[in-house]
Homo-oligomer: 467 residues x 2
């Protein structure tokens, strides 16, 4: 989730908590009593539905890992089409696009002296291969990215940079902003100084012996300038200790093999619950995952939650006022290619987009409802937020981050909302082999479905837009 | 820890909790008031000492993984000699022995149909290599080892057996008895039925994406009859789900490469705190570890705890009555070779061995003090147990398991004690890459040191033996 360009751009959002219309103003009667009852019924149904779990179990079992641009992602698109059709969605199709694609072949690292032992690493996305035989060089440790950025090139040429910066555990994911900068800028900063490679302490909050992968090049359109890999947190501890124990240099051997192709194919899978009008409520998650886990929390959960919620609204008697469009974006992790392709393909119908929202922050419980509405529509946030309070969701600011894949549409002026999941434990699993189905709590998943179903329905039925 | 032959033999011990002399009888004054004060002072010092942590940090950082019979284990022996000498131990030496040695080169598994995706495995100790190109075969799932043991060979020939039995989480480690049977007997049961290989659900209680390795052949003296590997618990879940989802067979490809040599060298490292007599209190842990972690909890902790505790007793004014011998046993994990070699080398001085005790159940807090004393000496368990109660240690039965490495001496008639650590979380880490220093709680480590120092001192000073 949360590709770093988008996050960096929205960094202010994550920290600011302005007074909002949700709290400040009295609520106009924007939902009828009958609509209010329907919202409550959708919440009840969401809390007791097995559908999101079934969708998530099916995706993670039958497809497993599905890296953007890979054959596995193509199988996931076919799965998405089958799943949406079987659930009664209409206009189900794949919108393909081309993209450059990176893939991992192998990775290994070891301390060669003075304390020979293997290290657990993951090559970062867009890392090039090391030369034949790998790179063996002295390690130079920097406690933080800014410390590296302030360092001269002297003494660094030909060496392996080690950025040991730890990551803060936060509910709102704000710790990721700094972590992703370390991951996305380390290779560039290393290359500037003539270093041979960069190792970072994983962008993760756990102490499992698993490295967190993730993109190392903003936008994902090219290879990084030097090989880049993440150490698991225990291995970063170990390397730092080895440096502290050693009386002389600590050398590491790094061997990474990756592949790069300019013209891979990916695509967005789309299905709709047709409304009485052609106005669009666009929701979804990203279908691709990193290659090391099965993408249960990132972002199978988002696919499952939004699909199940839309299905619940589709099951109501009569059509919703607006059309609910579910998008399973492709190739998010490796450069938000699906989000960009969607915006490009649908720019001519941007005015039909009444609101966009993405679920891409795992499967934790939703704790806050953020909006990004026009000033004229801000009062509508309050009845929406009020309806979600029974699910222990607090009203949030009108500065919603939204999601990486909907960023391009948001920048084109489409209002957005964010059903903000708790990220406290999210970065324990994120981008690791540990992103597996057993990590998802079915009750939390259903709280998400309930909130999304209520949100979609209100977004569909409230008169006027949110601009 | 706890090699399965020894555990299986002692299984009765783990479950029985007979009334004991510790509770039943009044305490004769077996410690003088001054000795009682010394016990308390040792406990105070143990609780505030940094020594065990320093020893453990040094071993795990400077050596890391140290598989029995490997070069790394030889470096660990040299480390042990240096460490014991630097701490003032006397008669420091290595007693070498020969052993057959297994090692891991590579391991990989994947579901090939109908849901292609990689699986996380660890080859089990003593697993042979698969043929060139690996083994690709249908998987046949058994819910438990007894279910496999009751099954005929029909339909199994040439297939890959999958024993999906889960492991119970217990404080006393009793869940390991069944788990180790699954691990140690699976290959034999598979071979009996003509199967090509065996996969087991890891002998572990966690849900991390890490497989638990461990011996697959009792005694470790030969290769297993078919390739044998463990799946991480999430991967076992995934394979079971794939079988449930599939309309036809599920096939897996397994590629394992290992090496085997008949004449590797290992050794026990020995150091002593000389006493006024040549009677021996023998304590220690095993120096080797599995190859995938750094052996912090299994069994660097045991090395660190017993070394630090003996050092505290050695720092008292004057010599202890009996000699405290610390043994760092070699090659325990792969067949208890060090424990057997020690017994063989010291059989002629078995009568000098007053008591033996091993720390090999991690770094959790000690919750029970078990003994295995002769009937005539049983009353001495009570004052020992009483002295440990301030550390929240309960009196235990007189049926102490002891430890794998001291099993041969126990069977030769030497009394034993066991400072029983809590195993509730131990099998989350045991035999995995996650066995790293950060998993050790320094406070728990010091509670161990305090208890061991008190125990050693009492064992040294109490008149008469424990036979």
């Amino acid at each position: 989730m949360l590709k770093f360009i988008a996050v960096a751009a929205a960094a202010g959002v994550l920290f600011a908590l302005p007074a909002t219309a949700q709290e400040a103003e009295a609520s106009p009667p924007m939902l009828t009593a009958k609509q209010g009852e329907t919202v409550d019924r959708l919440i009840d149904k969401g809390l007791e539905s097995d559908l999101a779990w079934d969708v998530l179990e099916s995706l993670t079992t039958e497809i497993g890992p599905r890296l953007g641009g890979s054959d596995a992602e193509a199988r996931a698109r076919d799965w998405g089409v089958r799943k949406l059709k079987s659930l009664g969605f209409k206009n189900v199709r794949i919108e393909t696009f081309e993209m450059p694609a990176w893939s991992r072949i192998s990775e290994a690292a070891e301390i060669t002296a003075p304390f020979p032992q293997p290290l657990t690493i993951a090559a970062l996305g867009q890392s090039p291969s090391t030369p034949d035989g790998g790179i063996e060089a002295e390690v130079v440790r920097f406690r933080t990215l800014p410390e590296l950025q302030a360092a001269p090139a002297e003494g660094i040429e030909g060496k392996i940079i080690f950025i040991d910066e730890p990551m803060a555990r936060t509910q709102d994911g704000s710790g990721y902003v700094a972590a992703v900068a370390k991951r996305g800028l380390g290779a560039v900063e290393a290359a500037k100084r003539g270093a041979a490679a960069v190792l970072i302490r994983s962008a993760g909050t756990d102490n499992q012996r698993m490295a967190h992968t993730g993109g190392s090049v903003s936008g994902g359109a090219s290879l990084a300038p030097v090989p880049a890999a993440a150490l698991s947190n225990p291995d970063a501890d170990q390397l730092a200790r080895a440096i502290a124990y050693a009386k002389g240099p600590v050398t590491v051997r790094l061997a990474i093999e990756t592949a790069w192709t300019e013209n891979a194919v990916s695509g967005n899978v789309i299905g709709e619950i047709p409304g009485k009008t052609d106005e669009l409520i666009v929701i979804g998650g990203h279908l691709d995952s990193w290659d090391n886990g099965v993408g249960a929390v990132d972002d199978g959960a988002g696919i499952a939650i939004t699909t199940a919620a839309a299905k619940l609204v589709g099951d109501l008697p009569g059509k919703p006022t607006r059309t609910i469009r579910v998008v399973m974006w492709g190739a998010e992790e490796v450069g938000i290619f699906g989000g960009k392709a969607y915006a490009k393909a649908h720019l001519d119908e941007v005015d039909r987009h009444v609101i966009v929202a993405e679920s891409d922050f795992g499967a934790g419980e939703i704790w806050r409802f953020d909006t990004r509405f026009g000033a004229a529509s801000l009062a509508k946030a309050k009845p929406m937020g009020d309806a979600l309070r029974r699910l222990a969701i607090a009203p949030g600011p009108n500065t919603a981050f939204g999601g990486a894949d909907i960023g391009p549409m948001m920048r084109a002026g489409v209002p957005a909302a964010m059903l903000y999941q708790s990220g406290t434990d999210y970065f324990d699993l994120h981008h690791t082999p540990n992103d597996t189905l057993d990590k998802v709590d079915p009750d939390n998943l259903n709280q998400n479905v309930a909130a999304w179903a209520a949100f979609i329905y209100m977004a569909s039925e409230m008169e006027g837009g949110f601009r």
